[in-house]
């Protein structure tokens, strides 16, 4: 398949998924996986702004806790923050040169420790307002081509639309309320991961993939599954995921 065809497939898949009660977290996770695949990077995270106007992680291509923590470090510093405040893509930032990482040294050090050498951030925009950023990491020196950037931006726009079209809040469709509701789904999933990992003796890093593997064939939203786990009404058996979906 050419990359053009793959992009088209992803767009069709996305439009198909965005029905009334779609699973936002699953959707965003899949979008980050596609982003890894299409742009030939190694990790992708979607960050959106919270009530305090700081960036928080909503979904990532890889749910390992150390990676979640790396993204989380960017609430106040890093390329995503610059991208969010300027509305401009921050591209081809070398994590190994101090000039390129001036102003976010601690974040860059942590990213290098995780094995990354290049990072990029693309704005998540609705009309003229920026609501977050897509963060890309690569373990090799990598420059995004003009067409990579276009593809990345299209995926960023899709993520924005998905987040802002949730209909979970009665009579209130303000963007902040929707962003907050999305971030809250994320927290519920982390809480359920903790419970499941402890109850079923799973490693925390595998729990997310196991939850997905359980939820998908049953057409259960991840947040619904998480809620059942939390309410102790979940009676299924979540086995360790055999082969986590990898690009």
């Amino acid at each position: 398949m050419t990359s053009q065809q793959r992009v088209l497939n992803i767009l069709v898949e996305a439009v198909d998924t965005l029905t009334d009660d779609f699973d936002l977290i699953e959707f965003l996770h899949r979008l980050s996986l596609r982003c890894v695949e299409l742009l030939d990077v190694d990790a992708v995270g979607l960050m959106i702004v919270d009530q305090h106007d700081e960036l928080q992680l909503i979904a990532a291509s890889d749910e390992k806790t150390h990676l979640l923590e790396l993204f989380a470090l960017q609430h106040a510093q890093g390329p995503c923050v610059r991208c969010y405040h300027s509305g401009q893509a921050q591209l081809n930032i070398s994590l190994t040169t101090s000039a390129a990482t001036a102003g976010f040294g601690p974040f860059a050090a942590r990213a290098r420790k995780a094995g990354f050498t290049t990072t990029h951030a693309l704005p998540m925009k609705l009309r003229h307002q920026v609501v977050g950023a897509v963060n890309l990491f690569s373990t090799k020196i990598n420059r995004l081509s003009a067409s990579d950037i276009q593809i990345g931006q299209a995926l960023a726009d899709l993520a924005t639309i998905a987040i802002l079209q949730q209909r979970t809040i009665e009579h209130s469709h303000t963007e902040k309320a929707q962003l907050q509701s999305a971030l809250s789904s994320r927290v519920v999933i982390e809480q359920a991961k903790g419970i499941l990992s402890e109850r079923q003796g799973l490693g925390l890093d595998e729990t997310f993939d196991s939850m997905r593997a359980y939820a998908r064939p049953r057409h259960l939203r991840l947040t619904e599954l998480a809620q059942q786990v939390i309410d102790n009404t979940f009676e299924g058996n979540i086995a360790p995921a055999e082969i986590p979906e990898r690009p």
């Binding site: 919270d50 303000t174 509701s181 991961k193 419970i195 402890e198």
Partner: protein, 243 residues
């Protein structure tokens, strides 16, 4: 987004609940900022937000009492389902939803109600309710200010965890967004056999006792260096193999 000086001041005063109050700051000023006639915060006990801790006098306090007496109302639903509930016109609200509450709320002279849950994921702490005598919607700026306020109140209440007086060292609110904190909360709830809300309080109390940031304590739980044991008498004991 530019935060007004008034809101900044209210946020600064919130965690400083001196005396008997859990929350600091002036509810009347807060109501004025949000362009509403009254504001109230009730905390959850036994699955419903029944403990009124902060409000403007009069209608708002009466509204919270009313929901407690009847055992139903939008505040209860916002708390249970952890979702924002907006009723811009009480006269137009579907009566089947709160059959006992709606007529009584009309009697109180209320026109519009907006309930914001105070929660962290599935940890429900309470509900913030603002009301107006005349039916109307909250505009986007007012909604956003109310959301900011609700988040700040949640942070202030989490921070409390029973030892507010000694909490000079404020927790950065961003730690409440960190994955490890929520994963640890889930793990502790299983280890100590308590609710998520209590698990969060245990974690918080441990961080305080050991004088470490919440996130560090959470990371210890997640990496299984720290464990909470159920004492089967309603208490839990942390134990860890320090490295």
């Amino acid at each position: 987004m530019d935060m007004s000086a008034t809101l900044a001041r209210i946020l600064r005063d919130l965690p400083d609940g001196s005396g008997a109050a859990l929350l600091g700051g002036d509810p009347v000023r807060c109501a004025r900022l949000l362009g509403v006639d009254g504001i109230a915060v009730s905390l959850g006990t036994d699955g419903a937000p029944t403990e009124l801790v902060w409000s403007t006098p009069g209608q708002s306090a009466a509204l919270e009492d009313l929901q407690c007496t009847l055992g139903e109302g939008p505040g209860f639903d916002a708390y249970r389902h952890r979702t924002l509930i907006a009723i811009p016109d009480l006269q137009q609200a579907a009566t089947h939803r709160w059959p006992a509450f709606l007529p009584e709320a009309g009697e109180l002279g209320l026109g519009a109600l907006f309930c914001f849950p105070l929660h962290l994921g599935a940890v429900s702490l309470g509900v913030l309710t603002v009301q107006r005598t005349n039916p109307s919607t909250l505009d986007p700026v007012q909604t956003n200010d109310a959301l900011i306020l609700a988040a700040a109140m949640t942070a202030a209440l989490i921070r409390d965890s029973g030892q507010r007086a000694s909490f000079a060292r404020a927790e950065p609110h961003t730690s409440l967004h960190r994955a490890a904190v929520h994963q640890a909360t889930g793990m502790i709830s299983v280890q100590a056999n308590v609710s998520l809300t209590e698990a969060m309080a245990l974690l918080r109390a441990h961080a305080y006792r050991t004088e470490r940031p919440l996130l560090t304590a959470a990371e210890d739980v997640v990496s299984r260096r720290l464990h909470f044991r159920d004492n089967r008498d309603g208490t839990a004991t942390p134990s860890g193999n320090k490295d």
